[in-house]
Every structure is written in C-alpha cells, then in structure tokens.
C-alpha cells in the first residue's frame, strides 16, 4: 500500500481536510492531534486492497486444501498405493510391503502426474525384475474415494496405462493382451465396457460354435436320409 504525505489545510474536532500531492482535497477522520500546515501521511488504496489480499489468501488456502484432498487411490505392483488428487497428481505414496518401500526410497513421485509416476515406478521395477511387466499390468487398479465417481477411475486408469505404455514399449502381439488387462484391472461390476467386451467375446464364441455345429447337422441329416432310403429299399 502506498502512502502519500498531504498537508493539513483545515482541521475540525473529528478530522481534517488534506491537500494531497496529486492536487486532490480529501477529508479524513482522525482523533490524532493535527494542526493546519502539518504534514499527514494518507494511505491510498484503502479497504479494497485489503479485500483483494484477503481474496488471494483465501483462494490459496482453498486451492491448497483442494490440491491435497484425495480423490482416488491407484494401486500398483510391489504393494504401492498412490493417492491421487482431482488433477491426477500424486499427493501421497504408501508402501504396503518392503518391496514397495524400496521403490519409494529410490523413486520420487510426489506431485508428479500419475502417468509420469507410473512410468518412473515401472522403470524402477523393470530394472530389477525382468519378467515383471505382466505382473505390473495385472496389478493396476484404481479405486475412487467416492464410489459413485467412476469417471475418475476411468481417467486414472487411462493415465496409468499411458505411463505403463511409455515405460514398456508395446509389441504388436500384445494388443490382445492389453484388452484382457483392461478387463482384469477393472473392479468388479464397475466397467461396463469390459462387460461389453466379454459379451462380444462370448458372441464370437457362439458364432464359431454355430460354424462348428453346422457340418454336424448336415451329416446327421445325410445319415437320416440314408437310413430312410435303406428302409425303403428293404421294403
């Protein structure tokens, strides 16, 4: 807040009139002892600046509270549980076993995007265990704090898969695998798409069964026809 030194041009019992350096005449209320001709410091900006500062502080407080409020838990391999906020940032890391603790000690993922965090952790895991790629994929799981918030689960899963994809370059033959991972990592009854996939898969099977059963029916029909002709001949 800037202060200006004005000169007192008139005084009364409850205040004074000040001529400010900008040429403005302003009335001030003060009980302070003032005499005409004396210099008086007037603070410009007034309450509006206080309000602005208060709003900024409030916004910062609300923002930081919101930032550190957990929206979902992302479970990874090695017993790692990442707490994620609404912006997909990792705000807490918890190890469920010694292996997880070892990873936490070596990799810093706090405040990273979930995608980046998953990538870093996967890199770290793959360094030590060569064949753990599938195990990581199978153990990916997201649980929203609010059980009805399925959108965040889907969003986080996508990000985790992206991170995993960056850490482990996918091979063309793996495409079918990823679909199965997608099915497996969904919590039960939470992802409709997995159900649809299964249905599609099931319907494919039934079609292939149909194709397989078709020649059998024809053979039976031929058998029946042959039997009928044989009966007729005997007659």
């Amino acid at each position: 807040m800037t202060t200006k030194k004005g000169v007192v041009v008139e005084r009364s019992n409850d205040g004074a009139i000040i001529l400010l350096p900008t040429g403005e005449y302003r009335k001030i209320n003060t009980r302070q002892y003032l005499e005409v001709g004396e210099l008086y410091e007037v603070s410009s900006g007034g309450p509006l600046k206080y309000v602005a500062v208060a709003v900024i502080i409030l916004a910062l407080i609300i923002g930081s509270i919101d930032y550190y409020s957990l929206q979902a838990y992302a479970n990874l391999t090695s017993g790692l549980e990442l707490g994620v906020n609404r912006w997909g940032r990792v705000i807490s890391v918890q190890a469920k076993n010694t292996e997880g603790q070892r990873i936490i000690d070596t990799v810093q993922v706090q405040n990273n995007k979930l995608e980046v965090a998953v990538e870093k952790i996967t890199h770290q895991v793959l360094k030590k265990e060569q064949n753990s790629q599938d195990s990581i994929r199978h153990s990916l799981n997201v649980v929203a704090k609010d059980k009805n918030n399925q959108k965040i689960e889907e969003k986080m899963l996508k990000e985790m898969e992206k991170g995993l994809g960056k850490a482990t370059p996918t091979k063309p033959e793996d495409s079918s695998d990823s679909r199965t991972i997608n099915n497996e990592i969904q919590p039960e009854g939470k992802n409709d798409s997995s159900g649809n996939d299964k249905q599609v898969f099931k319907s494919d099977k039934s079609e292939s069964n149909q194709h397989a059963t078709q020649p059998k029916d024809e053979k039976a029909k031929l058998h029946e026809k042959k039997a009928k002709l044989h009966e007729k001949e005997q007659k």
């Binding site: 403005e24 005449y25 005409v36």
Partner: protein, 244 residues
Amino acid sequence: MRSNAALELNNSLNQLWEDYRAGDPVALDHIFEKLMPFCLRVCAKTCGRYIQENDDEASIARLAVVEAMDKYDPDKATLPVFIGQIIRNRIIDFKRKERKQGIIPFSLLSRDTSRFGQEVDDHFYEEILDDIARRQEIDKLKGLLQAFQITFEELVTLSPRQQKTRQSAQQIAQIIAGNELLSGFLLKKKVLPLKELEENWLVNRKVADRYRKFIIATVLIYLFDFPYLIDYVLPLKGGQENDN
C-alpha cells in the same frame, strides 16, 4: 524548501538576539512576536494537544525563551533549534512535576505520556518551522478563496476524483495563470473566462465548468506566492515529488 523558513527566521532572530544582548529593551518583545507561533507548536507537539496563549504551557514557553536568550551560544546551534530544545525540556520538566504532585489534568489522562521520554533531533524543530510557514500560506490562500466564496470543505466535494480529469483541470488552471488577460479577467470578475478558454484554447467546457472552483483554487496557488503549496497542485510533478 525546508531551509527557507528556518533560515529566514534564524537570520531575523540572530539580529534580534544581538540587539537583546546589546541591551535593547524592545528586542525581547519582537522576539516573542516572531517566536510565539513556533513556541506554541513546540509545546503542542510535546504535549500532543492544542496549546493556546493563555495555557500554562505557553507561560513556561515564554520563560524558556528568556532563558534561551541568556544561554544561547551561536557556535553550538541555531537560535530557533536552541529555543525549541529549551522549551521542550521545560515542558517535560513541568509535566513530570505535575505527575509527582498528583496534579494530573483530565486532558492528560487519556493521552500517551510516553512522548515525554522520546528524544528529538534538530529536524523536529525545522519541521515545526516548515509547518508554520505552510500554515501562513494556507491562511493566505483561505483569505483569497473567501473572495471567490470557496471553502476547503467545498473543494473536497468538487475536486475531480479521476486523476486524468484532475490533470486536465490543473492544465486549465496553468493556462489561466500563464495568461495575463485570462487571470486578470478571473481576479476582476471572480468567474472563469469559459468562452475565451473554449474558443482560443480549445478547453473542454464541461471540465472547466464542472470543476471551476477547483480550477480557481489552483489558479490562485499558481498566481500568488505559495512556494510550499505549489508542489501539491502541479499537474506533472504532483504526486511524484512528494510521494515519500
């Protein structure tokens, strides 16, 4: 600016002090005449309240002036500063004595008495001299404004709020003050030469008419000798030089 008032007073007081030391009986009266506003200000600043000539503090100040005249040494300090120091010390002594005796005026009960323990430098007395010089200018301006039926109270409500508008009003005032015909018209007729300004100076009539009282007050500060106040009403320097 600060040194002007102090120097002027110092020179005249030195002359009077020499006369007093030479035994001139009238010199002390002249000194009182010149110094009384300063003495009352020092008393007021020391006590933190308004002091009038018939207050006890004013009598103490008079005695302090006589004491200062006898003890003054030109090599040690300037006369106004020395007188100011003596007055301040005597007032503080008086207040302490009052407190010891239990004679505490009601006015003092609610006030901050810690001021008596505070030390002040020479700057303090020079500022008081500046305040007095500024007051003289303001009193003179007030008298001039009365002729135009303008009060400071009115100027509060009639001052342009926007800085841009204020600047253009101040520029109009500068035009008037810089032109003898326009300023002569204003001083004679007590109104702004709006037609002239609009036709010859392409001044915005709306601004000139709406803020005429503010413009007149500013013109008067430009026209008459107000070295302290002029810095406050200059369109470009105003708000920059005196911000500290």
